[in-house]
Amino acid sequence: MSRSSNSRWITVGRDLKRNKLLYLMALPVIAYYLIFDYGPMYGLQIAVKDYSPGDGIWNSPWVGFHHFIEFFNSYYFWRLIRNTLLINVYELIFGFPAPIILALLLNELRRQVFKRIVQTITYLPHFISVVVVVGMLVDFLARDGVVNQVLSSLGVAPRSYLSEPEWFRFLYVSSGIWQQVGWGSIIYLAALTNIDPTLYEAAKVDGAGRWKQMIHITVPGIMPTVIILLILKMGSMMSVGSEKILLMYNPLTYDTADVISTFVYRKGILEASYSYTTAVGLFNAVIALSLLILSNSVSKRVSETKLW
């Protein structure tokens, strides 16, 4: 061992001794991450093994890419990819801009009291559990529920919306907007408060109306925030909220509702095919990570904004 690395270890040893309590305090947190985040990463190897609880993760026999190939060739593959991507694309087109638009509109409200009331009301659904939100959907959209009652008085024939595959994506995305639009707008409102007020003064002097001010000052002002959130959104493209879909879907709507994560839950947990669904999950995670890296590098190139 060279002298320099030797003395380096001495420094480390000294520091560990001097700051013993500090390291001890960090230990439970480090242990938590090692066990509960890195432990499952270790467990990922069963994607290329044939896991049986008797053999354990390490001793289960290798099967190579068998599970991946089986998934790529299965009837489910394209359906899951299509559903996962479509639900996300709809969320990207409709769900993502909604809080931005709300923040811009809130920003234009003249009366502060009114603005605060609107904010208070629109944040509220964020705190309601997803079970209750889906419970309300199920009840309101039942065949004799209030939505059908109101629509039938307008001459629309009653339907069972939650059993019809063609309605699933609309209901999923729109109820998501209902629950999150107000909460999502907070981050943009925060970004708005950071815009230098003198810019507006200058624009007014130049004769810019409120529309021009919005286009030339407000929107560019929140653009970095928009891009960061867009990158993050791209990163979560593949991990669409399985919790809500698990509550909302049923065998009648699997055709449009079943996504990779719900499939993993159903086949993996309920039918105990652990290795196969671990492979499916890993495939999903790798695509998600690639999307994140891709969108970050695209953003780096076209704008100054980047996640790392």
Binding site: D15, L16, N19, L21, L22, M25, A26, P28, V29, I30, Y32, I35, F36, D37, P40, M41, Y42, G43, L44, I46, Y51, L105, E108, L109, F114, V118, T120, I121, T122, L124, F127, I128, S129, V131, V132, V134, G135, M136, D139, F140, Q149, V150, I186, I187, A190, N194, G209, T225, E243, L247, S261, V264, G268, I269, Y274, T278, G281, L282, N284, L289
Partner: protein, 292 residues
């Protein structure tokens, strides 16, 4: 400057109208549920369309809900998970945040990297499930508390808050012989009360609303949190065991009313606390937003 033009005035008007419509669509579902839960089940069953007030008046549905042993144990379990889980979350997150907020500590960057990686890549559902199962946590209350003890986002928010405490304060405490533990407990935490309040709220709401982990890790109904009981009543539609004492004909209407009362029972605590908590919630997301 020139006064607002006709175009601007009409924009303001339209904007305000849009906001009112938005508020209506946000609030009305709750009002509908509240009115329905207080309505007379028989009259409610005959009523068509929207409700603007309770239709008749009856607390029968609430009586049925509070007589239901599942809801009561679910409530009890949820309160346990909220209190113990949140306390554990706070201790763990504060310890991690304290370490990461220190200057000149070896391995700090390595630990930070280890933590940030988990935000972008995870083992996934099945390996996590197998881990929790191999650790013997299935069907214990700890399955609701230990996995997910630290939320990385919250950890970073807390670290940022801890970093904002002036260095000179802790230096003088250290000169007076304070240990790291004392610095955290006596100096950092008292100066970080607002962010701690935010953390309590975030973690507590998450525990109150949690159901997925419970569905994964709990088989024993005695351990079910309220949300899992709600799922049975609201979504898988099993109010039957609550309506046994009603005669066959009455079963259907009271079943509907029970659903509404159940939603109220599960939501009212948050609805009542909400106005008091709102400023903290907003502050929390602002801290998270501005520092990234």
């Amino acid at each position: 400057m020139n006064k607002s033009t006709l175009g601007e005035k009409s924009f303001d008007l339209l904007n305000a109208a849009a906001m009112i419509v938005l508020c209506f669509f946000t609030l009305y579902p709750f009002l509908f549920v509240a009115f329905s839960s207080l309505s007379d089940p028989g009259l409610l069953a005959q009523h068509r369309g929207m409700l603007w007030k309770p239709y008749g008046f009856s607390l029968g549905a609430y009586k049925a809900v509070f007589a239901n042993p599942n809801i009561l144990t679910g409530y009890g379990n949820t309160i346990f998970y909220v209190i113990v889980g949140t306390a554990f979350n706070l201790i763990m997150t504060a310890l991690g945040a304290y370490f990461l907020s220190r200057r000149n500590v070896l391995f700090k960057n390595a630990v930070m990297l280890m933590i940030v990686v988990t935000m972008f890549f995870q083992g996934g559902l099945i390996p996590s499930y197998l881990l929790v199962s191999n650790l013997g946590l299935i069907d214990t209350p700890w399955a609701m508390i230990i996995p997910g003890a630290v939320n990385t986002w919250n950890l970073i928010i807390m670290r940022t808050a801890f970093q904002a405490v002036p260095v000179s304060l802790e230096e003088s405490a250290k000169i007076d012989g304070a240990s790291e533990w004392t610095v955290l407990w006596r100096i950092i935490l008292p100066l970080s009360v607002p962010v701690m309040a935010v953390m309590v709220l975030f973690y507590a709401v998450a525990h109150w609303n949690a159901w997925f982990n419970a569905m994964l890790y709990l088989r024993n109904r005695e351990l079910y949190p309220l949300q899992l009981i709600l799922r049975e009543i609201l979504i898988t539609n099993s109010t039957d065991n609550m309506t046994t004492d009603a005669s066959g004909v009455d079963k259907m209407p009271i079943g509907e009313a029970i659903k509404y009362a159940t939603i109220m029972v599960a939501t009212v605590p948050i609805l009542v606390l909400y106005p008091f908590l709102q400023k903290y919630f907003v502050k929390g997301i602002m801290i998270g937003a501005l520092k990234e």
